[in-house]
């Protein structure tokens, strides 16, 4: 492990009351990344947003199984990038089937994944073991 690396594994109940806690952890990590040359305030907001949206999404698609009532979150950083993985144990969804929000239609929903893609550099969603993993990477170097 690099001397500047961080690896954080978090398990939280799939309830919206934990969104703020998870978002703030992301903000704090972003503020610690001295090697990031860009605006830290913006980075902190973006990491907070990605975590909040991803976790809210995981809650939305959660299973009803009482044994799977949590969300797994991992946040890792190295010299080059910050990676967030949010794993849910629900039925999942097709990330490519989500349309870009149309401002003329004014839908109340459907901006979460769009925002994640807008603020992160690389976003993927795949099945891993028993869960669905939303993986989001942010480059820390130019």
């Amino acid at each position: 492990m690099d001397k500047n690396s961080i690896e954080l594994q978090i398990k939280v109940p799939n309830k919206t009351e934990y969104l703020s806690l998870i978002g703030k952890i992301g903000e704090d990590i972003a503020n610690e990344l001295n090697r990031y040359a860009g605006n830290h305030e913006i980075l902190a907001y973006h990491i907070n947003l990605a975590l909040t949206e991803a976790m809210a999404n995981a809650i939305k698609y959660a299973s009803n199984d009482k044994n799977d009532n949590h969300v797994d979150i991992s946040i890792t950083t190295n010299d080059y990038e910050l990676t967030i993985k949010v794993t849910d144990y629900g039925q999942g969804f097709d990330i490519n089937a989500i349309p870009t929000p149309d401002v003329n239609i004014l839908d109340e929903h459907g901006r979460g994944i769009f925002l994640i893609k807008a603020v992160m550099d690389n976003v993927s969603y795949s099945k891993e073991n028993n869960g669905n993993v939303l993986k989001m990477c942010k480059k820390l170097t130019a």
Binding site: Y45, R111, L115, A118
Partner: protein
């Protein structure tokens, strides 16, 4: 959702008293706006000065409010956004949908 409601002439001001508007509390905001229009209020201003973080569900609650305004022949305006919050409206192009004012006073003056 913690908020304060205030009447100023023919304008009802909803001041959000939360640092975050996310999927945990956005329904409260949506309901409060809905209630105001159902009660017959026509001019609604949401003051976002205290809000430092908004996510897609917070934006969705305001979009719902905008649609509610239209269906009740009312108007919903927004004011006093922090720059990061405003950037979320720009990213989703919702700044073209809402009338957004720098200050509460400017917004109130615009209703007259």
């Amino acid at each position: 959702m913690n908020l304060v409601k205030e009447n100023r002439g023919n304008v009802v001001i909803i001041k959000i008293q939360e640092e975050r508007v996310d999927a945990h509390n956005s329904d409260g905001l949506k309901l409060e706006i809905q209630k105001a229009f159902e009660n017959g209020d026509k001019n609604l201003l949401v003051n976002l000065e205290s809000v430092h973080f908004i996510d897609s569900s917070g934006l969705g609650a305001l979009v719902s409010g905008f649609k509610n305004a239209t269906s009740h022949n009312g108007v919903l305006k927004l004011s006093s956004m922090q720059s990061q919050v405003k950037s979320m409206f720009e990213l989703t192009r919702l700044h073209r949908v809402f009338e957004i004012f720098d200050s509460e006073a400017d917004a109130i003056a615009s209703f007259k």
